[in-house]
Symmetry: D4
Subunit: 255 residues, 8 copies
């Protein structure tokens, strides 16, 4: 934003922009206000990748409205997360949305070619964690990453984890998705040399307290290089993994 | 207790015991009341092993008083758990207590020869868990068990755990002690065929919430055969491990 | 696993196995990967008893798929836990599943003859705890144990508990199932000489917080020999009870 | 208060009291304001028994100040609860306080003769619960009750509880004090026909969470007639027990 | 129970009862075992008042079965608590149950005449607390008590509380029912001289956490004479209130 | 209330009111008792603005009943909060209620003209927080305030917040509504000079724990001038904002 | 801030300020960076009242450093909150700080004359709440307000609260400080017509959980016009009360 | 580890290694067992950077012992975290440890030259968060990174944050350290394009619950690219930031 302010200030100095216009411009430029939402036009400029709409708590009508604005602004790929089947049905009347039911994600527009540094490995402790993992995987793919899926490799059958040493050792970043005791990130974090993003899931019952057990377990991981996102937040993990996988590219851009 | 009631009833029937005496006997026999405590004389009879005094919340004077009663009643080995250094110093003026500072355990009398079925393996995730593990180990030894100690084999360096496959595979029962994320019992439970007693410790900080994270993690273990005792409850784990290691012996006794 | 690695290494040494084949074998042997699940073939070899599928979070189709693999591999008895009525109806189209509605357990194949050391007593505090107790009981029976059921013997009518002193004193291991204040394991643990596995249930309301009160109560039991599994985890308790009831048998096998 | 308002109103009507005086009287009569405290003069009138000062959070100087006011107003027995040894030393320079260290209670003035309906039984689960129980017992005695103490009768040795059936069956009201799993009130509540006041204590460690486990356990008691006071609130339990033990007397007074 | 044991022992001594018969008698007498429940026959003898069935977690068929046993045993009034409308419909096919929908209570048999010492006042903070209050009121009435209902007298309009000073001052025992901030028992406890039973309700939203806020508030009441039962536990409060209201009667019985 | 008591007392003194009548008057005047509710007639007198009915936990019939009483008493605008669509449909058969579905508020009677000191700004972090914000906005409008709505100005796009500096700087009081991390009040509190009322919402998932995360965040705000109401309590925030916006007016009234 | 940006922009346009200088100015003006702290110079300008330093977590040396900067900038009254006795001793070597031990507040410079609209009433439930109340009172006085102190007027002796109806009815804003059950704000909120700021304190024990009980109670207050600040946050309450008491003045300034 | 197993297997095949030796080698190579700890020799090989000892829960003697082993094995830079002043004093008798008191970190050996991709920005909300931030900063520097410190830029004075747009926009990765409401990562996450590692601190009081409020706030951040580590875990954040800052370098190594 800083550089934009500088540019505006320089225009003011050059006399090509009045003070009031400048003030207005600073205020109104970075988003479109459609009443119930300020549609952010920032990310597209900065990331060159997919736009994201968080679907929960929005009516299908609102989602269509936001999609309209984004498409008018020339957005490429658009991701709609936390989208129910019913809302997806409604949206599909207006937009050619590709809907993934388990992951509750809708994708509008073509997937970009992978341009990240390496592979993002996405691993789950069990079969029930797959929907959250898919949310992460699809997000990462929509943001231009190669994804390797390792599902049902939980630590209570450690040989299942160890059978994938190659993928784990060669990843640029790993997303470890687990419910119940949430031990997967600790074991993977001890095996890998790369950042591990831990995603607790609400899979479990009783003293799992809807994912709290896994969340606390992951926050206390004694493996280095592990950080945690919210319970069931597959999107957040996939987005962050993509950021890390593009760190180098960004570095180069700056030169 | 049932058989004792039967014996009392038969003595009443035979006329060798009055009704009032019988009533008294049923009430007063199984413990000695010394005001601040009912000293239980039951366990010695049943287990043939060590008596146990829970030291926390008792004054040194009270502990000495209970020791006096137990010795008068002919107790062999006596364990005093949760005993502070200061209290141990006081007790040692009256009894030849062998005090283990880290584990906060005092032992009075000779250790019995191991007579359990096999080995009890006691493993810890880290160095800081050793005091709790030693409480379990000394308890198990005082109750007649062979103990194998595997310390600092936490899951974030899984090769350290796997290096002890022999001991893990050959154990009769395993006590897995861990703080922080508490993942050790899940990994060991997946490797072993025997009961695993999980002991969460208060080792950690922040979101470990004094052992809550490890406790929840262990309760949610997806490995079968794992059960959990209270945070830092090394004694309880050692006692239960001994029970399991003597299950067969007890079975034979009954024949 | 250790002995398998040794055997593989010896085959390599003898030249009957190439290095690459050995590496492959170590990785792929212990499970069959069917995409959404790694079907574990380990337990059958080790336990000689029932295979177990955790039904929660799996689609009926996935359960049928896993059953197919297990039967191809020659599994004897197979237990499907946390199986809804609806899922059971679907599975029964493909497999002759014996479904127990209250316990939400499906059993495929014949029950084995009891070969454990003694009796497993399963007690409940109230009538509402019976479904969880039945999950434990059926699991234990499917794993080759004699089970004695003592239902509705809660501690607020202590005479109901004491009326079963014979069964309690003669058990090899006891599973104590209770909701609300969860005091049953403490009372039974004080009466019995054998391991007591405490199962908190979500029975109760208000400050029971879905079983948390019973869970905390059981973790703090002042009776020795008590350990705890997750809230409503009847399966885990039955499985562990079976392990303990077979400890001696296993000991003998090793000689 | 109602009858006092009526009396005041009648005096106004009779002209013996001006409106402003009446208003003043309603406001200022029931307590003496000494700046940091409004010393309540109500209870003495209503109960005819001991005055109570809650010592925690008050400076020794403030306690002496309140004692001065109460004695000037002619209070008989005065109880100071939650009084530290240091504060007691200070107070004893000014008042002939009888200080009970374990219970942290100071008593000023003579104990009244018991005038309640029957006996108040005060039972504890263990030795460590005695200080809280003594707070209850001394409070009850200072309020005119006969107290029967049953200490260390915890439920993990149920024979110790049953040995006191006589006292339990004959009590007018029972105070059951316990830490750890807090099961004592449930067992006693099932045996007795009278109200049981449950007092959770902070005795325990780990998942007792400073008495939370016992508190939740007691709130969920499946025995009827059990109610609960705050953790370690011996005073509250003793005060309520006295109220119940004087219910009949009060009833008669009204006739 | 003690006196029954004594009688049995005397019969044994007199030779009119064999030892085995005595043992049997001690075990089997106090309840009827109908498989899924031990129907307790104790309370009737002891209380001379209503029997109680806790309906939650029992099938309608089980409730009918227990009612059958109780009626065969000659029970007078029977209370079924936590009974859903659906279950009540089913039960009414077999028994002439009087069902109270809001309070979810069914009553079988005639209400007894009030024989308690005085009035039980039942007060609520708001309109939404009435169902819980009615559970308490109907329970108390079924156990032989006169009940005075004071509904919607919450403390945020203190004049509504003060308008009922007469009823509050003249009660033998008060049940104070409140959700949200749960302040009613503190204010009433400060006004009244009698025991106050506080019942937190799950009325509220957000940070009321289903009644936790009210529960904690009540446990911390700075008014003396207040004790607390579980959230929404109207039955428990009504039962305990009845016990207190009959304390004197019981005392007289003993003479 | 004080002045009313004084007036009553003076009437008594003057002989124009008997003592009993006075007592009655004090008790019964400020509300109408319709059995299930004491309809408060106080606020109308004091505020001269809208009456409020809290709809949750009341049956539609009860709401109609209370509306009847209020209209008989001459209430102007009446607000019914937490009113479900179904209940609104029922009420609209009897009263010309203006129902706002998102905010779950029904308004009866005309909105008053704004007479507050300045503007109340109501801001939300996201689109999903709008229903709670509307509850606050409609409440404030019904109580005579000008409201400025700033929706979807969450802090993760700080330029969206900064774009509204004018409105924020010129507000008399601000209501900041946010779920998830609840950071909006801190940022706004740092920008504004006026009181900020923070309303946490239950918007979010996982570790938001139904608004707990936002609630704690707001309570810990390091911005001065921020206070917090219950989760989703739009009404409370709007009511308080109106009070603050009328503080000056009230001050003048008193002169 | 907006107006400052506008002024800067206008200077740029006029050519009196270069673009780079403008950018610098926007960044650096509003605070002085002294390494460990950015000393904010904003509030003085905006409020014309006291500067505030939050003392907790700062070394005495850092506090002196910040005081130096503020005095150099010409600050009038400066408040240092959460200041320990030891730190105050150190600071007093360099600055003529007036230290209030109970409230842990230091004040530098003269107190301003009260210029608020009316009185701020500060009430406490008990004697132990006074330190927090004093923190609020001194803060409010340092910010130019008249404060009325009503201490020890807790709701369990409601006559003590009612005795101060005059002060409560005439307040512009009330700060209600209470620990334990935290009911004071609800009762006062029901009596008063003005905003009530509730301050939970950590006074209490057991299930007060360091103020959590009072906090939840206050958040759930059914009285309208109540909002809540953090536990023990006397400063925050005093600051907000001052803001409300100056709302009118501010309104006039804007004209 | 995989490649090492392969090398071992090939040696076995070649006959240069016996089966038993191979087995031994796999087990014992990656760490040195010194009784109380398995000193891991893995990381040095893999990272080429600093070794790390977690100091908490280890005696000074144990730390010296581990340092001895690491130095014998040729470690370069060694970091000792969570090291108390007292332990540092002891260690400094044996090793030339550079001790940083605030951050509780000791560094042995020379700091490496920065070889990461770009800058790691470490920002704090307040002055009290600096010790945790320094733990992160020193860790990152010891692992070969350039660190930019932005301290006391909390969101309640948003201009302080915005004043550092340049540093924020140009970072490769940002560590955002904050206590109290923990809003800093959300605001920074919305401004920056790079990964943000959020570190909640235990700075705060009351409802901050030792960092829980900040932790929950950060987990619920609505800014994308934010992940969280344990409360006060500066080391973990610094380590992960270094990993991300070296992702590209690692990628290149693999080519």
């Amino acid at each position: 934003m800083n550089s934009e302010i500088r540019r505006t200030l320089e225009a003011v100095r050059a006399g090509s922009l009045s003070v009031d216009e400048a003030l207005l411009q600073i205020k109104e430029q970075p988003f479109v206000d459609i009443g119930y939402a300020k549609v952010d036009l920032h990310r597209k400029v900065r990331q060159g990748a997919a736009e994201v709409i968080y679907g929960a708590g929005k009516t299908p009508e609102q989602i269509v409205g936001i999609l309209n604005v984004l498409q008018e602004q020339g957005a490429g790929t658009i991701l709609v997360t936390r989208l129910s089947s019913e809302a997806a049905d409604f949206v599909q009347k207006y937009h050619a949305l590709d809907y993934h039911k388990g992951a509750r994600i809708g994708i509008l527009g073509p997937l970009p070619s992978p341009d990240g540094l390496g592979n993002i490995v996405i691993a789950t402790g069990g079969t029930s964690d797959i929907p959250v993992a898919e949310e992460a995987a699809l997000t990462a793919e929509a943001l231009g990453n190669r994804v390797v899926r390792l599902y049902d490799v939980g630590v209570s059958g450690i040989h299942r984890t160890l059978a994938h040493m190659d993928e784990i050792m060669n990843a640029t970043v790993i997303v470890a998705v687990a419910g119940m005791e949430g031990a997967l990130p600790s074991v993977i974090g001890g095996l890998a040399d790369c950042p591990v993003i831990a995603v607790p899931t609400s899979v479990g019952y009783g003293a799992s307290f809807q994912g709290l057990a896994a969340l606390l377990s992951m926050l206390n991981s004694c493996a280095s290089g592990v950080s945690v996102v919210n319970i069931d937040n597959g999107f957040g993990a996939g987005y962050l993994a993509s950021m890390i996988n593009h760190v180098a590219a960004k570095g180069e851009e700056k030169l």
